[in-house]
Amino acid sequence: MRLKRFLAKAPIFLMCLVPVVWLAWAAVQGRLGANPISVITKETGTWALRFVVLTLAVTPLRRLAGWNVLVRYRRMLGLFAFFYGTLHFVTYIWLDQFFDTASIVKDVIKRPFITVGFTAFVLMVPLALTSTTGWIRRLGGKRWQTLHRLVYATAVLGVVHYWWLVKADISRPLTYGAIVATLLATRVAFRLKPKVAPRRVPAPNTRAV
């Protein structure tokens, strides 16, 4: 049964790896242009944001379209957001700053877009660490769910980070902002509406009234 579950998730898992595999191949082949470190930083950051968005899209799609199967992949999508976020952060501290701690600290304090980006990343750490079912049990479902609402902050801060680092063309950050705002707004709408159970196949032996 576990093997079957594992194999069912494998195709999505492999698809989530495509961006990093492509990046690594392109880097080795020298196909990243004249400023490869900048491209790596941008690509890893954008994919981190995209995976946060995908993770946030699971619940609305479940509630609105009844696609319950997506829940199975939500943890994987969230962990890939953390994975690409980590790559993005490591690219910055290694290839950009060469582990110059004083310089990094100064950047995080002095440059608002880095402060915000760093915070967005740091907020994902407890989520990654508590992503297992063992931790859901340890914390209890309710506490775990409250903790994992931090992903909302990561999404918003990620958009602000993007907004504050572009030179003049805000169209992309604006688009991500609109998407994140929509995904968060649907959650507010669900809260305000009376509780509706997600659509499921009616159980057999239901008595006709």
Binding site: N35, D96, F98, K110, R111, L165, D169, S171
Partner: protein, 174 residues
């Protein structure tokens, strides 16, 4: 960047038109063609892109009009058919695909100045001591190199250009 441009000094062109004593600045305009340049279809900047230099900056022997690089004719993305190269200033001053050059008596408003005046000034000399409001200019990575290096004031051309700014507060005149 340390790029082997192919071109000629702007001052040769300016000398040939014999500017009068009223000429104080040089204004440049680039191609406006949303059909060919898709980035111009949205008003990210106030198209057409414009730039300017003070007359002495324009007459400096380092200021080039470039028609090629690396032994090749200038490709479209590098500003074909002719572009400016002002090596001691930030790259956006080196306007591409020039369609008009005017000698004017007033300091022209450049595209980036108009867009974000608190971030981009008229002079835009390379200066590690003056940060961009949102990020530092203290270190740079040269195209083709892996590690970063400290940025040099005037991009290392201080000997040839610093005298033009003697007595100027380069923090105010960024």
């Amino acid at each position: 960047m340390v790029i082997p441009w192919i071109g000629f000094p702007l001052r040769d062109l300016l000398a040939s038109v014999e500017p009068t004593s009223k000429a104080k600045f040089v204004e440049f305009t680039t191609l406006s063609s949303p059909g060919q340049l898709p980035g111009q279809r949205r008003p990210v900047l106030d198209w057409p892109y414009t730039e300017g230099l003070r007359l002495d900056e324009a007459m400096n022997p380092l200021t080039l009009l470039a028609v090629g690089l690396y032994g090749e004719v200038l490709p479209n993305q590098n500003g074909a058919p002719i572009r400016l190269v002002v090596p001691w200033k930030y790259g956006f001053k080196s306007i591409k695909s020039i369609v008009r050059i005017r000698l004017v008596d007033h300091q022209p408003k450049t595209a980036w100045e108009k867009s974000q005046p608190d971030e981009y000034g008229f002079y835009s000399n390379v200066n590690p001591e003056v940060d961009h409001p949102r990020w530092s200019q203290a270190r740079e990575r040269r195209i083709g190199e892996f590690t970063k290096r400290p940025t040099l004031k005037f991009n290392g051309y201080g000997d040839q250009v610093a005298s033009m700014y003697a007595g100027m507060d380069l923090r105010k005149n960024y």
